[in-house]
Amino acid sequence: MSRPVLSVRNITKSFGGIKAVQGVSFDVAPGEVLGLIGPNGSGKSTLFNCVLGQYRPDSGEVLVNGRKVGGQRACDLNKMGVGRTFQQLSVFPGMSVLDNILLAGQEHKGSMLSRLFGPRDAGLTGEAEKMIEFFRLGHLRDTLAGALSYGQQKLVDAAMAFMAGPTLVLLDEPAGGVNLTMLGALKDRLIAYNRDHGTSFVVIEHNMEFVMSLCTRIIVLAEGRIIAEGAPEEVRSNQMVIDAYLGG
């Protein structure tokens, strides 16, 4: 097997008395779409935040493309090729869709100085328009992101995570609160992106059907620990998983 794009080793993280994540380890292979499921409060988002520098884990280590990370700021991790979305909708509401997407790409182009003296769009308009088209938002290019429907904003949010051409994208509940039509569009776009670019995903999601059809492997978290792992069908029929979801 080729080198994993992400290795998480024995991560723990507590908030005061709450042990949010307790010794979680897993690898993500190049091009893999890994699902991360588990009841509310099982530590999924905390795990993401530990991987991506928003939180500092109490112990354990994280390797991105074989390079050990720790203490890096979120912006540096992003520059190492890791994109993400947040559980809460996270766009720039007062900026146009195009500006949202441009901002997602511009810090990866040129230097600080060239971003002051160079072209206004950092030479990215063409690429940004392609990304906007890819997510079927072309007609909304110049609309303020804050004026879009919730589902459309979720698409903008996801599109931003891809703009810098990452090797790995972590998506925290991308389908949360999205209506059925948009859900189909989002799933279709993620599958297409993975197929076209070979980008690895880790997807946190509550919508079982969404995860089962998108992911090739699923990890189940409960109370900060991995309780099951395997192909979607295996996990679906696992008794421990059923118990965890039913509050066993």
């Binding site: 991506l52 912006c75 720039f92 509401p93 441009l102 901002l103 971003r115």
Partner: protein, 326 residues
């Protein structure tokens, strides 16, 4: 045609600024010059607060630092341009330093930190009289000597200030329309998301303060020869609040907001002079009404009206979403 409309409007505005003081008395010219100067300071605060979302109640102290440095250097016989460059460089560095607290505290707490800084500056300017002249301040600063004209008279000094203003505004225009400007707005609207997209929010926060403060320093470099007398009271907290009012009334985050706001705050008292004792009451009421109906200031109000006139319902929604931002 639409492509030329904007540059044409800018040229028209410039022409108006060139013609405005013609035939006016010294006092009116002085008011116009003050307006240009405060516009520069407000433009700086607009970058820090309006575009980047970092509250600062210290802009007057940066004007003060710039004014004292320029005064001391020009009184020592150095040319104004040297004083100005030193003022801008010093306020850039001090602004950078004031940006560090902003990395840890936000909102009201940051307001208090910057407020304390302004007070600190006031106390230093008052107490260190060996340097600043203490309560008596500094006076008799020479006005810059241009090759082709002396600016001792008020009209040439107005044009001199106008020239500096135009250069400062053009630079600001460039900054806010560059990728930096987009990143500054990202910092305002959603810093955590911006950071996750590779925006170095630490560096950007510091720059927002440094550049904004340098504009304060530049304004100070103009105040010094304009009034030819400075004392600590000219840069007290109240003046910072006044500059904040300019930014907010004009429209924070709009390029022309600070110019408009400075015009209102400086010129309106002159216009309302006939109401005598009622002027402050009318003024305060107008500000309250404006803030309630248009939190994005006069520019925001104008934008809303313009959209209502030119575009039907759909776009109005976008404006309201924008309005909810600040």
């Amino acid at each position: 045609m639409a492509r030329f409309r904007y540059p044409a409007l800018v040229l028209l505005g410039l022409a108006a600024l060139i013609l405005a003081p013609r035939g006016e008395g010294n006092y009116i010219i002085f008011i116009f010059t003050s307006w240009l100067t405060y516009s520069i300071a407000a433009m700086g605060l607009n970058l820090t607060l309006g575009y980047s979302g970092q509250i600062s109640l210290a802009q007057a102290s940066f004007m003060g630092i710039g004014a004292y440095i320029t005064a001391l250097l020009t009184l020592a016989g150095l040319p104004w341009i040297v004083g100005m460059l030193a003022a801008v460089a010093a306020t850039f560095v001090v602004g950078l330093a004031l940006g560090f607290p902003a990395l840890r505290v936000k909102g009201h707490f940051l307001a208090f930190v910057t407020l304390a800084f302004n007070t600190l500056f006031f106390l230093v300017a008052r107490n260190e009289d060996w340097l600043t002249g203490g309560n008596y301040g500094l006076s008799g600063m020479p006005r810059p000597n241009l090759i082709f004209a002396s600016t001792m008279k008020n009209l040439p000094f107005y044009y001199f200030t106008l020239g500096v203003f135009v250069v400062a505004a053009a630079l600001m225009w460039w900054i806010v329309h560059s990728p930096w400007g987009r990143a500054f707005k990202g910092l305002r609207e959603n810093p955590v998301r911006a950071e996750s997209l590779g925006v170095d929010t630490t560096r950007l926060t510091l720059l927002a303060f440094a550049i904004g403060s340098a504009y304060g320093g530049l304004a100070g470099a103009l105040v010094s020869p304009l009034v030819q007398y400075i004392d600590p009271g000219s840069f007290a907290l109240g003046i910072s609040l006044k500059i904040l009012l300019m930014v907010v009334v004009g429209g924070a985050g709009y390029f022309y907001g600070p110019m408009l706001g400075a015009a209102i705050v400086i010129l309106l008292p002159e216009v309302l002079r006939f109401t005598e004792g009622y002027y402050l009451m009318i003024y305060a009421t107008a500000v309250i009404v404006l803030m309630v109906f248009s939190p994005r200031g006069l520019m925001g109000l104008g934008e809303r009206l313009w959209h209502r006139l030119t575009r039907p319902a759909r776009q109005v929604r976008a404006d309201m979403a924008g309005g909810a931002q600040l």
